[in-house]
Symmetry: C2
């Protein structure tokens, strides 16, 4: 399981509502679809080669390695997603498919535990020699996560044994002892996976191995300096050009580099593991570093959609407040990484800001990564797109103006799938003394709280409506804490227990409502988070957003699209006084709230490119849709930040 | 000479004022300095190798070719600039230096006339085989221009003979006949040079050769398709990715591609030659194409500084209205090319818009290319620079945050030098029936107008002050037309002849004041172009400038710099009602007008990255300096477009 407080997936059901529909899509469409992609059976999509590579490595077929050096990880992430699906929705056919591919993987694994088809098939004598570029440990991490998920879903040890053997080999190979490699992963991931493996197996040594990797990272002398010299690397790739190993978060020890830096997905996986280890080891310096990193991440480096990583070159963080909208990289996987990090921070300390950020990123950045039909994906999620410009300008060449079925580097689609397939890991925490609700979405769950079996049902039309009804059914009347997140976006929440209003001021703390009492079967807690249309302003240091507002309603950030508002969205201007109202449009985009009002549209005073004359304005209807639903109606302009007058 | 109406350089003197000082700098500092650079004697600058290459090709020393395939052109442009200098300021030492290097060039030239040290030294069997990438014809063009300038300055035929032999070879090699190459230059330049050569030699066949190149360009079947197949080019460089040969303006015949497209310097040199040929041949279809190209260039593709080319990748034009400020390429050479094109358009038709654009680009974009001390240069001229961001972001990696002494690709410094050294070619036109003044700057000139010798003196403190006094001294009273440009930026010009106000409405047309009368010695014409501080707005389709104003006073566009206004210039906001006044500050930047007033500075309402609160404002003094003088006081932020409230 993701963290010690997670609810086991079979114990929580999502049957209706916005997120449940996305989770269903992942189960019914995305996972089968991606299996076709991994098997190169998807017409019109880029070739994957992933399953092929394992079959070749297993000796089941002849052929050469195809794809990128981290291609294996696509299969691992899919295996994890498919396992999550089996956990909640048993399916003999999928179960058998997993058994078959796991058997192939086991055959592909070398007797000593090594597993990486890229190295095995292209450079078998070069194992562990190129940690800064190759992804052996990253891939190992994803397989370990898959092995844990498969075991938890099915009780079968087939994949868990494979990854245990792999982890054991890593433990033998890496470390400070004579004959061991004093290195660590170029792409972090195995650290958080080892913590999961330790949790499911009870083997603390895997935590120690993860801690070794974390503590060794960025130590002096720098491992990568020596490695790149040994490899004869004359010039590092161009994305290393700021401070070399900072790209890998290895310029300094992790407790000293407190600014999000370098490749954003790597950074998130590192911080996630740091939070895991702070919890597992009670490491206060690591905990403090996590808090500072969190604070810097969310105060200086996050888009209003919760996306991170604003520089294409190296898919990395830029400087503080440097958040251009049309050149945003804002990778779906980086957003997923932020969700992971936030979830661990909630175990370190129950603070609403962690869940607020998790919600913002999940509902906006991550969901935008997948089309409404589950068949096409965005890797990059800019906040402003002008298709002609994006196709023409090299500095936007990474922006896709429509979602695509698959990528040569297909990290994002299976990452989205595995995250939505394990939604229950993010929505709640169960601790010895209570239940916490982080994300509001219609669900029912069972848990053991304060020694008592609890059935808990939550009904809501969130994110369209902020009213939430929870029914609490302990097997016997029991005192425990019900901790309910008070969303940061909501100015005036209210709550009631069995119809009696709760004095919020007396019970709120750190962004949660703490209801500690003896709960009895049939108790009902209602919450109301009124959803008004909010105009969000960026800190004025975000130079690209000066004079603009983003529209938000509840957790959803909205955008204007060309299909609703005509082209040239930069000409739209929203008067400060213009009223905007939300309206549910059931026939649109699977049913969505739209925001509507009367804005104005700039008109040139004359045809001159430059003149002293001010542009004039004409009234213009404006219609905004949730950002996560954009680009489901064909190619067109889109804009989150709207000029305000 | 540049065009048939140009005043010969020895006949016009610039002794005082803003442009004269820049011209003096070029004569006294830049030309000797660049000679050191071309000879690799400049400490701290990138190696040039240019003179070295000719010495090796001439057999004067041993060695290998150094530098880029168009390195020769740096010498040619310098030779042209140095010749211009000799024309106005005879100098035996420089004269002797030119004789010596010209002798080396003559030795380097092959007996058949071929001259290109890159090909001669690295691929002597591959002449004329790679027109799309190599620059043989481009280099030939620059040498032809230098040869013409050298002959006009000194009366010596040494270099003119070399380039005549080269042009004759080109005439033999290229053309539609059996055994000739049906190609044309990958980088236009030779066409305009051949017209100059025809004008100085009287050989019309050079005009015909230029016309062949222009008419063949983009013809079907496309020469470059065949050439690149022959060369086995699998994939064109990435900057060809829009419509392949459009990068070279060779996707269509020149009369059909009426949108500025592709590499912006190439485009300007092409359009310049098209205008030359329209005049030489009376070609109406070419003239019409030039007018449409001009109109599209200035209505859709020009920065407020007169710079062009907004896409780094391929140094090319982007789409209409796509003029980002921080990622502007805005190459100095492209601005120079626009000046060339504008000057030719003035010979096709005397319209103020051509001179307005020439003035805008020269005073702002081109002058910004050179430091006040003449020793460092900008290749790229963005309108907004945040140094930290420019150093960090790959999509701004081409932006230099300070001028540099020399470039590996050093096209711009000598191009700026040759343009300013031939200033007199741009300021006036002399036709059979009169004299036209395009650019106002203090000068005195002699010309023959309507058969009479005319002495003409112009006194002004332009661009600081819009008052102009002209003394007209014909050898005998003579009727001719004095045509005086009425700058497009001036809303209320006035004029007087010998103190008597001129009825402007009766005498203005096409942006000029046309004064046709019998002029006598001692006649004085005065003009007044009141210089107020103007707030310029961009057409709202320029999405990056929405809500912003640029400040202009007279022909100068201003900018705010960090050294005067603190950092975070994006936080400055100029209320619509704020008064701005110009003040001459003699101790600043060699003496300059500064614009001052009270603006406001945005302050975050709270430290949050996003919040519903509006930022607050505090009053903030604002001080703007001419854009062309920016970055003469160390590295810092700069911004032309300022938020307006």
């Amino acid at each position: 399981m993701t963290t010690p407080t997670c609810i086991a997936l079979p114990k929580i059901r999502f049957e209706r509502g916005f997120l449940a529909e996305r989770a269903r899509l992942v189960r019914d469409v995305v996972i089968p679809y991606q299996w076709e992609a991994l098997n190169d059976r998807l017409p019109g999509a880029e070739r994957s080669g992933t399953v092929h590579n394992f079959q070749v490595a297993a000796g089941e077929k002849q052929g050469k390695f195809y794809g990128l050096w981290f291609q294996d990880s696509d299969l691992a992430k899919w295996l994890e997603a498919a396992s999550f699906r089996l956990a909640t929705h048993p399916d003999p056919k999928l179960d058998a498919e997993l058994d078959a591919i796991i058997a192939t993987i086991a055959k592909a694994q070398q007797p000593d535990g090594y597993l990486d088809t890229y190295v095995q098939l292209t450079a078998p004598d070069k194992k562990w020699t190129n940690l800064f570029e190759w992804h052996e440990l990253y891939i190992a991490g994803h397989f370990i996560e898959a092995g844990v998920a498969h075991f938890e879903a099915t009780g079968k040890r087939t994949l868990l044994d494979v990854v245990g053997k792999l982890a054991d080999m890593i433990e033998r190979v890496f470390g400070p002892d004579e004959g061991q490699i004093l290195g660590y992963p170029g792409h972090e991931e195995v650290e958080l996976a080892l913590v999961k493996l330790a949790r499911v197996t009870g083997e603390k040594r895997y935590v120690r191995l993860a801690a070794y990797f974390i503590n060794q990272r960025g130590a002096t002398p720098n491992y990568y300096e020596a490695e790149s010299q040994r490899l004869g690397v004359k010039k590092l790739p161009v994305y290393f050009y700021h401070n070399r190993w900072a790209y890998l978060q290895a310029n300094k020890p992790v407790r000293e580099e407190l600014e999000p830096i370098g490749h954003s997905v790597r950074a998130m996986y590192l911080y996630t593991a740091m939070a895991d280890l702070a919890l597992e080891l009670g490491d206060e310096s690591l905990r403090a570093a996590c808090h500072t990193l969190w604070s810097n991440l969310t105060n200086y480096h996050t888009y209003v959609t919760g996306a991170i990583g604003s520089e294409w070159n190296g898919e990395q963080f830029s400087g503080r407040y440097d958040l251009p909208n049309d050149r945003a990289y804002a990778e779906s996987c980086a957003g997923i990484g932020l969700v992971f990090f936030a979830r661990r921070m909630l175990d370190l300390e129950l603070r609403g800001e962690f869940a607020d950020a998790m919600e913002r990123t999940l509902f906006n950045n991550v969901l935008a990564g997948m089309a409404l039909d589950g068949k096409t994906f965005f890797y990059v999620n800019p906040l402003e797109v002008r298709p002609d410009e994006a196709k023409r300008r090299y500095d936007q060449h990474f922006v896709k103006t429509e979602r695509v079925p698959w990528f040569g580097c297909a990290c994002c689609p299976p990452n989205i799938a595995r995250t939505l397939a394990s939604l229950g890991h993010y929505t709640h925490s169960v601790t010895a003394d209570g239940l916490a609700v982080h994300l509001y979405t219609d669900c029912s769950l069972e848990a053991t709280v304060a020694g008592t079996k609890l059935k808990f049902a939550l009904q809501t039309d969130y994110p369209w409506d902020g009213r939430v009804r929870m029914e609490i059914n302990p097997a016997a009347p029991t005192e425990f804490a019900l901790r309910l997140r008070l969303p940061g976006w909501c100015m005036a929440p209210t709550a009631a227990i069995n119809g009696t209003p709760v004095d919020l001021a007396a019970h709120r703390g750190n962004g949660y409502l703490h209801l500690v009492r003896a709960w009895s079967a049939g108790d009902v807690v209602t919450l109301d988070f009124p959803m008004t249309v909010q105009r969000i302003r960026a800190h004025p240091r975000v130079v690209h957003d000066v004079g603009c507002v983003a529209l938000q309603r509840g957790p959803l950030v909205f955008c204007v699209e060309q299909v609703d508002n005509g082209d040239q969205l930069g000409l739209l201007r929203l008067p400060k006084t213009a009223a905007l109202t939300g309206r549910f449009e059931s026939g649109l985009l699977g049913g969505t709230i739209v925001l509507e009002g009367v804005a104005e549209r700039l008109q040139p005073a004359n045809p001159d490119l430059y003149s002293a004359a001010e542009p004039t304005v004409v009234p213009a209807k404006i219609k905004a849709v949730p950002y996560c639903l954009w680009n489901n109606r064909g190619e067109g302009e889109m804009r989150v930040w709207i000029h305000e007058s």
